[in-house]
């Protein structure tokens, strides 16, 4: 394992982490403010990717595609909040899980009905394709660097939104005491729709950005959803800062685990056995991380007691 390879893997982990943050931020906001477990968050990620692929296919513009992903996911989120989610706030978590799981099925089959069963095409914009030369002789894909930049910019914007704006104050107040801010005259149902649409838009953006380097297909959101849940459990439910730290921890653990564990096992084992043991342990690494965090801090790194 050379230094260059290690730096490259750290960048990969960081990139994976900031994209997870986009998913986890919405999830944790929705849980924090409304107390809702939203399993359909992965479907909004898929909606974003499909919207982007459609618009990119029709217009050829990646920027328009990103705008479409934000718009389509926010719209889908707002619609779902108004029609379904709204009825679930007073229910217990099991009912929410059941209803939002049903939403996953509806979104998946609806998307198949509209777009068919074959994956769609969405490519990196030409301006961002290919590798870029970094110091120390590292060749790194330009698009992944851009992803890191966009992710961190969104994180910064989200912090400003939460800490500096009127909406942010209402969100924070909503997390503290839902009934009280409603009593103080804040239109709580409008706030809920807004927060849900914001979370959905972030998921849709992540779907479009990631869709360009992965496969835009039905069911693409569910694996990411599981990771996003791991992130918010590690970070502390309801905390945006926790989501950022948790996402980067998970991204680094997963990437470095995949890269380093087989090599480490190779020091003490046969190559073939080291490879399969290392690969197996690497796929468990983030769950081991989650278990360790929960043992030390049962409410997550930034969770409130």
């Amino acid at each position: 394992m050379t230094f260059v390879l290690l730096v490259e893997q750290v960048l990969n982990g960081l990139q994976f982490g900031v994209m997870l943050f986009l998913m986890a931020a919405g999830l944790t906001l929705i849980f924090g403010v409304m107390g809702l477990i939203n399993l359909a968050h992965g479907s909004l990620y898929m909606v974003g990717a499909f919207a982007a692929a459609t618009v990119a296919g029709a217009t050829g513009s990646f920027l328009l595609a990103l705008a479409a992903s934000l718009g389509a996911a926010a719209l889908a989120g707002a619609l779902v909040e108004l029609t379904v989610i709204r009825r679930l706030y007073g229910r217990d978590h099991l009912d929410q899980v059941l209803a939002t799981f049903a939403l996953i099925l509806i979104f998946s089959e609806g998307t198949r009905w509209l777009f068919g069963s074959f994956p769609l095409y969405l490519d990196i914009p030409p301006a961002l394709s290919g590798p870029v030369a970094l110091p120390f002789g590292i060749d790194y894909p330009r698009y992944r660097l851009a992803l890191i930049g966009i992710g961190l910019a969104v994180a910064a914007a989200l912090f400003l939104l939460i800490s500096r704006t009127r909406l942010g104050i209402q969100i924070r107040a909503g997390e503290e005491d839902r009934e009280m801010i409603a009593a103080l005259g804040v239109d709580i149902s409008k706030l809920y729709t807004l927060v849900f649409a914001l979370g959905a838009a972030l998921a849709g953006l992540a779907g479009a950005l990631i869709g360009a380097i992965q496969s835009v297909q039905v069911g693409m959101g569910e694996p990411v959803l599981i990771l996003a849940f791991v992130v918010i459990v590690i970070g502390g439910i309801g905390s945006i800062r926790g989501a950022l730290v948790g996402a980067i921890l998970v991204g680094l653990t997963d990437t470095l685990g995949r890269a380093l564990l087989p090599v480490l096992f190779g020091l003490v084992m046969e190559p073939a056995a080291a490879m399969s043991a290392g690969a197996s342990l690497a796929s468990m690494a983030i769950y081991i991380l989650m278990a360790a965090v929960l043992i030390l801090r049962p409410r997550g790194l930034f969770g409130r007691a």
Partner: protein, 377 residues
């Protein structure tokens, strides 16, 4: 989700409704979720062959297994016990085949596999009523290994997901490949980000990369590989380069060499007619999965011409004779009821706006699988 469609082949012919269905075929395949494209192609290929045969005595019962072994087993039980089907077919995934096939053939049903070919069912677990019309799982990977030798590669980096078919893939490649390995990686099943693996490939100094990453995994890998600027040649089995996937990969797949038992441009009259009629019927080009569904149905029809399905011995012998015109040209069954066939080398090209494959040679001729000797049938 649970889509139950009863498609009487009779309805397709002019005699709809009058003839009594004499053969019941249960198709369990994946029609929802991320793997639905494969099941759709198998189903459409199969139905096309039925339609072209003009037979009105074959009743199809098609159900979606959702790519879940437990669902597949439930459907199979219902088809066998309540619907009393004669022939089962359709399963795409090896883990589902392992869950369904042994029970079905033990209950006296015929199973014709249009896709999955796990080694356990080719070796010790072989059965006289189980016929594989596609390939044994290792075959295309073995051909990739043989191709790597002939292309002069001596230092391959190989990777596959960490599950039984992935391990079979790397084993199959290594069975024929004679050079050194610069690296061997197992990735997580369903993994979509390959940045860490591509960085290792870049650092490995390999002269070729063999990868088996079916479905969305392959799309992700190819796009990320092309964007990484690593230019070590890729070799893979056809699963990452079939017609349904290539359009989603785009330019990133151009020029990649892959191995397949079938190709759109194989020069035989059956194949030319199949490609043309499939495109006319469904408005898209067929994939290798569609060709397998088509061949499976034609094998079954050829056996029905010779023997009644209730005549178990006769029907079995008629299947074994494989007396049908395959889209692959020559086709025969080995002693374990798995195909003996040519495996071809294809290259991804662009025809107009469509990405597709062109045959550039034969990787292995008349190739049988490595497990036939273990079959005590």
């Amino acid at each position: 989700m649970k889509m139950k469609s009863l498609i009487a082949a009779a309805a397709l012919a002019a005699l709809a409704g009058t003839a009594q269905a004499e053969v019941k075929v249960g198709m369990i395949t994946t029609l929802s979720g991320g793997g639905a494209g494969l099941g759709l192609d198998v189903r459409d290929g199969f139905l096309l062959a039925l339609k072209q045969s003009g037979r009105d005595d074959i009743e199809m019962i098609i159900e979606d297994d959702q790519q879940k072994p437990d669902v597949a087993v439930q459907i199979a039980d219902r088809m066998i016990q309540a619907e009393d089907v004669d022939v089962l077919t359709g399963i795409i995934w090896s883990n589902l085949a392992m869950a369904v096939v042994p029970g079905a053939v033990a209950q006296g049903k015929f199973y014709l596999s249009p896709n999955a070919g796990p080694s356990a069912l080719a070796g010790k677990g072989c059965h006289p009523n189980y016929f594989n019309v596609a390939w044994q799982n290792d075959n295309l990977h073995e051909a990739a290994g043989a191709y790597a030798n002939s292309a002069g590669y001596t230092n391959s980096f190989i990777l596959a997901p960490n599950y039984p078919a992935g391990q079979d893939a790397l084993t199959g490649y290594k069975r024929f490949y004679e050079g050194e390995l610069s690296g061997e990686l197992y990735t997580k099943l369903g993994q979509t980000d390959y940045a860490a693996e591509i960085a290792q490939i870049r650092a490995s100094g390999a002269d070729s990369v063999f990868f088996f990453l079916p479905g969305g995994m392959g799309i992700s890998f190819l796009k990320q590989y092309a964007d990484s600027g690593v230019d070590i040649p890729l070799i893979g089995p056809a699963f990452s380069f079939d017609q349904g996937i290539l359009q989603a990969v785009g330019d990133a797949a151009l020029g990649v060499v892959n191995t397949s038992q079938w190709a759109k441009d194989l020069d035989n009259p059956t194949n030319a007619a199949f490609v043309e009629s499939f495109a006319a019927e469904y408005g898209r080009l067929p994939s290798l999965y569609a060709s397998q569904g088509f061949d499976t149905a034609n094998l079954m029809i050829s056996a029905l011409e010779k023997a009644d399905v209730s005549d178990v011995e006769g029907f079995r012998a008629a299947l074994k004779a494989a007396d049908f015109a395959s889209t692959r040209g020559d086709f025969a069954f080995g002693p374990n009821n798995h195909p003996i066939q040519n495996i071809y080398v294809r290259e991804v090209i662009k025809e107009g706006d469509i990405y597709t494959n062109r045959t550039i040679g034969v990787a292995i001729e008349n190739h049988a699988d490595a497990y036939a000797a273990e079959c005590g049938m």
